[in-house]
């Protein structure tokens, strides 16, 4: 075993896992704005890919393309190795691509357990009658298993803190039966250090399960280096850097992002 291979094993063993999604030569234009030029990226199962880049670099457009919200003008998406055209967010979700948007899509007037099962409610088939106690039980289990602490699954979501809501949004996406790829658009943006830490621990625990690929957009490079296996830098609609987190550092990433302005 060469040193390089050994290094890749300690990086999480994800290098040999199958690719969940691969984007090839993706471009997307909105009128005069070329949001994405020629994007190539991939994520393997059990891997967290950090996506960084300045505001306006195209991060959100890329996420929305990977979740079926936008259709690329050119290029193709391979999902589990098969070329796939995502028709809509609902279509992407049915395939196992789930997104936690910045607005979280939480229903404030509903309790935690009904938010976890939103539009996937358990019913006494063929009757449309809710199985509330079963949903409560499973919600409690799910939240316990990833270490989210809330007063009760009966609490209305509107009464929870930002971090708790974020954690529940993540838990909801993960516990959708077939989620294979989870995209998180700045999950830590509106959060204090303590709450952010809670989400990061949650993502680490998900990574340890090895059955899900995660793409994480964040502005805090220390967090990215800490939690992600690889980092991709998006600049002017192109991926300009693809590196294992171990082989880079916060200062290098900062330098790369800021070098752009030095040149211009």
């Amino acid at each position: 075993m060469t040193a390089q291979e050994e290094g890749s094993v300690t990086a999480g063993g994800a290098e040999t896992a199958p690719e969940v999604i691969r984007a090839e030569h993706i471009s997307k234009r909105f009128g005069a704005v070329q949001a994405l030029k020629d994007v190539n990226l991939y994520v393997r199962r059990g891997e967290i890919l950090g996506l960084i880049g300045d505001n306006g670099a195209g991060k959100s457009t890329l996420i929305k393309t990977l979740t079926g919200f936008h259709r690329p003008d050119q290029g193709r998406l391979l999902f589990n190795g098969t070329e796939t055209a995502l028709r809509s967010v609902v279509h992407a979700r049915s395939l196992g691509i789930d997104t936690v948007f910045q607005d979280l899509a939480m229903i404030n007037d509903l309790p935690v357990y009904l938010n976890l099962f939103l539009n996937r409610e358990l019913t006494h088939r063929p009757l449309p009658v809710l199985r509330r106690s079963e949903m409560r039980r499973r919600a409690r289990e799910a939240l316990d298993s990833i270490g989210i602490s809330i007063p009760s699954v009966d609490t209305e979501v509107g009464q929870l803190s930002g971090g708790q809501r974020q954690a529940i949004a993540v838990a909801r996406s993960v516990y959708a039966e077939s989620t294979q790829l989870l995209l998180l658009d700045e999950p830590l943006a509106a959060m204090g250090a303590k709450e952010g830490g809670q989400i990061l621990r949650l993502l680490k625990r998900l990574k340890e399960r090895r059955d899900i690929a995660i793409i994480l957009i964040a502005h805090n490079y220390a967090q990215i280096v800490d939690i992600c296996d690889r980092v991709n830098l998006l600049q002017h609609g192109e991926i300009t850097l693809d590196r294992a987190s171990q082989e880079t550092s916060v200062s290098e990433l900062l330098e790369l992002v800021h070098a752009e302005y030095g040149v211009n």
């Binding site: 899509a105 229903i107 007037d109 409610e121 009658v129 009464q159």
Partner: protein
Amino acid sequence: MEAKQVATAVGRGLVRRRELSIFVVCVAAAIYFAVTGSGFTTSENYHTIAQYVAPWIIIGAGEVMLLICGQIDLSAGFVFTLAPFVLTSFTGDGMPLLLALVCAVAISALVGVVNGLIHTLFNLASFIVTLGMAFFLEGMSLIASNAQPEAAPANGWVAQVFGRARWSELIWALAIVAVMQALLSTTKFGVNTQAVGSNPIGAAEAGIRINRIKIVNFALCSGLAGLGGILDGIRVGSFDPTNGGNETMFLAVASAVIGGTALLGGSGTIIGALLGALLLGIVYDGFNLTGVNANAFDVVLGIAIIAAMLLNVYLGVLRRKASR
């Protein structure tokens, strides 16, 4: 010690379940009128109250569903007015009463589908859509009736079941409350209705078909209003084009709001609307019995609605504190 514990538990219940607080106010109002007025505690008077409240409860049940999903139906009062004349146009052609009744309710529901389609297809506020529909239906009622009352069907078991029998209208109202409350709180449809009103974008992102949910609720509200109009007309013995209308609709909405339904969507209960209607009915009836000028009723109604809203806001704050 025990009394104190009971009092604490009751106090907590009042805060937790907003219906309970309306119920307590209902009981207090009933006791007040029973003590001060004569003839409040008679079977005859209970029947009078039932006649007042049944239409508000039936329409209110539909309005609660619509309010929860963030909409309102201002035309329900005139669906209530028009439906009996739709019924007579069918029976006039020789259709059996039961079938004519089913058809009239179906056409009423269709009005709701039209309201819902205009709202969802053109993204026009339901307030405006149903306001226009209200005027349209008022005109249609006058045209269909030639602005004249008609005799309502009075013979046969169908007429007995649908309003003629003494407590029939109230029994229908209570059955509707039971069914609609079950729909709201025990089914996926009910939860989705709440989600649509609370966060339409989030609900859509979760894949809930928000337009379909809204249209079904518009149809439910109009269908119930149509049924209510027919029941009420058969009870009275004549179909009157001046019956129902805006006043009935607004009292139904007031019942819903007094019963704790949020005007901006997201939360509410059908049982709350039942209690809200009951409170309005008791006050209205009590004023009549105690000889207070009936014109003062609207003054009290206005104050009651605002007070109920303030109480709801206040209780909401307490509830949030209690659950922390």
